[in-house]
Symmetry: C2
Subunit: 436 residues, 2 copies
């Protein structure tokens, strides 16, 4: 018997004291969820535990099972409500997530992560993932791109490594990436997850599936105009297995307004996907990449990983440059401090000579040097950790490219006819080798 | 056909400028490894990448595949060498790992983690894990215990969640826990991993399998005397699956001296396990806990998780207390700073009145207040993140206890005859309920 599973996802924009009409919006969200009774509710940006507890109380009768993922300074913002028993919960914190001194962006303080819960739905093992990646503040000059690529890589690896025993895999959340972005290609290529928006025949929502739109009262319209008036950055993905065939029956999104209310649920649109799980002997869903992938697909994946690796290398260079600057400033601070102490010590040693330093200047300069020394030392430690995390990811990517090449070599040579050796090795002939 | 797999594990004690005879010891380790040609070599505390590259060069012909896991400030210290192709590498950084201001212990700066590599040995999928947990500096008053329990919990979860598709699971490393310690019970109870030392009939090594012994030239003997002259904290674990039966044929450890050399390889003893993988239709190895576990075993696991949860709760209390202290100091610093500014501002406002503050005192006090404010703010952020990580783990543990209770309830009531309801629920009748 096919099983119907309704999945809801929403970035709640729940920053205390900053997000507009937060309390009223949570009340609206709570009403909507208890009325709609989705099987699984995946929420992001629930930054305050009080708001989670409010929803938990409100949904006590409709969604008796819940989990709030804690991490970072503000928390991960991730929360799950479920009508089915949550058997297990697991969290993976991304190793990179912006910079603590970019306090106005705030991403670093929210310990961005991917949360996983395990459900048993009609005897099927359903692995549900929820995540929220680092925001994109400027698409043209995105200084956080290496961090987001690392997060996408870690998200993909987490799903791939932890869902081997799953009958059904579901991922929902605010990925802060548009379809076709590098991180999205990594996610698709490696996990084989399917996008509800592209897979369903019955879509009802904003144009092109946008989840961040001009018609939303809370949207900064100036930001969206250069992006074509809307972007799709919130998703629900699914994947079946040999035991279960999964189809997306329908996908709906809110459209900026909530009938009967003066404002929308959030500055993002909510998604609701209706999945149909058909247990079968001949279910088609299976993990990608499998042996039966075409050489072309593997070759595409090699190009994607190579591109991602290049992006991460750019990140390594930036982080190394910043670390170098921090080290130079720290040394400068130390030298100035020592110099000042030496100059001040001269009159004491020369006994009786006049103190050449006005005391005020002396202490001010001393305090300044010390502050520079301390802060640049902390930055040096931070940047070193960033470099290590980026290099670690790059090493994993290099290994991944090697593995893909090996699998490509297993394909019969015949498939390579008419293509250059470089193409046969799965390399884009126009992409430079990142090893060089 | 059974396959033989030889696994080597060693904590290399490779701290640059601090560890004695580091260069000579790495040369000795390299010689030993290239002579012995183990299938998999798991190294910990390889803190310098240069040392890894030295070994990589030296083992180029015997162990063509290697991976160095990068993380934290110094790195994770984890390195793997293999005679079989490494198809994939993955790293999980523990969310807690000591305190940055405990620089003399240094654990925080080494980004402790668990690394995973994927091997294909004679068609079998072998998942190899290597890790190094936070050191234990004082067994009686171990302030790092909550952190180590969280690490053990995360290690166990990482193995459990990522090895569903494995034919063989191997874990090696310096766990900094003795057999019977809380973290070890978590690891055994949940993953079903078997300890080579207890499972093999052919052991050749130090008394009781100790890997940190008095006879080692580098050992601080004063530390080991109260611990009975030796401890076993380095391990090789294994687990089979339905497809493969795994046996430990033999386990050997070094005994403090290396014949023909003036000093040992490290301050830890090296382990070498010989595993026999027997592909079979009726392999006995299977993941634990399975349905066929006895109620007693599940009940033991409930007690272990409950104990771990209590320990984590103690950690939450400590971290909250520290956070509270940091907050109070930060407020004090801020108030003092404002007060000072106010006092200094009075003469300016009263125009012509004498400046009551000697300038030197003014600037010194100002700098001190500012330093207190800055450092306590950073500490406040750090402790908040510690509290969140501990609370997150505690939530997962509460969920785990709930799941175990549910499975216990599935056991026939008959099994409960003669036992109290509390015992039947899998609770130690003497352990208080951590929910209270």
């Amino acid at each position: 018997m096919p099983v119907k599973l309704r999945v809801f996802s929403l970035n709640c924009w729940g920053i205390r004291y900053l997000s507009k009409h937060r309390t009223q919006r949570y009340a609206m969200i709570g009403d909507h969820l208890s009325k709609e009774r989705h099987d699984v509710v995946l929420l992001q940006e629930v930054w305050s535990e009080k708001d989670f507890l409010f929803l938990k109380k409100k949904l006590g009768s409709t969604h008796p099972f819940s989990h709030y993922f804690k991490s970072g300074f503000f928390g991960s913002g991730l929360a799950v409500f479920s009508r089915h028993t949550i058997h297990d919960a697991y969290l993976y914190r991304y190793s990179l997530n912006g910079y603590p001194y970019m306090a106005h962006h705030g991403d670093w303080f929210g310990g961005k992560a991917v949360g996983k819960i395990l459900l048993n739905v009609s005897g099927l093992s359903v692995h549900v993932f929820v995540t929220h990646l680092h925001a994109e503040y400027c698409r043209e000059q995105d200084s956080y791109l290496p961090h987001r690529v690392v997060q996408a890589w870690e998200l993909m690896n987490f799903i791939r490594h932890t869902s081997a025993g799953a009958d059904v895999v579901i991922l929902g959340g605010d990925l802060n990436m548009q379809p076709g972005d590098l991180g999205m290609k990594l996610l698709h290529g490696y996990t084989g997850l399917q996008d509800c928006f592209t897979e369903t025949a019955a879509f009802d929502g904003c144009e092109q599936g946008f989840t961040h739109i001009m018609d939303n009262l809370f949207t900064n319209k100036q930001e969206l105009i250069p992006l074509g008036g809307g972007i799709r950055i919130d998703y629900v993905f699914f994947k079946g297995s040999k035991r279960v065939d999964v189809r997306c029956e329908s996908l709906t999104t809110t459209k900026g307004v909530v009938p009967g209310h003066p404002f929308p649920y959030s500055d993002h649109e909510a998604l609701c996907a209706e999945l149909l799980l058909c247990p079968s002997e001949e279910g088609k869903g299976e993990s990608v990449p499998e042996k039966d992938n075409t050489a072309g697909k593997l070759s595409d994946l090699v190009n994607t990983v190579t591109e991602a690796r290049t992006e991460v290398k750019v990140g390594v260079h930036c982080a190394e440059r910043m670390r170098h600057t921090a080290a130079r400033l720290a040394i400068m601070g130390l030298v100035l401090l020592l110099l000042e102490l030496a100059i001040a010590a001269v009159p004491y040693l020369a006994m009786g000579a006049d103190q050449p330093f006005p005391k005020t200047t002396f202490y001010l300069l001393g305090a300044l040097c010390f502050a520079v020394l301390l802060s640049t030392t902390l930055l040096y430690i931070f940047y070193t950790m960033e470099v290590k995390a980026l290099q670690g990811t790059e090493d994993q990517m290099r290994l991944a490219v090697g593995s893909l090449h090996e699998r490509l070599r297993e394909f019969p040579k015949a498939a390579c006819k008419g293509r250059s050796q470089r193409e046969c090795d799965g390399l884009d002939p126009n992409t430079p080798d990142p090893d060089e």
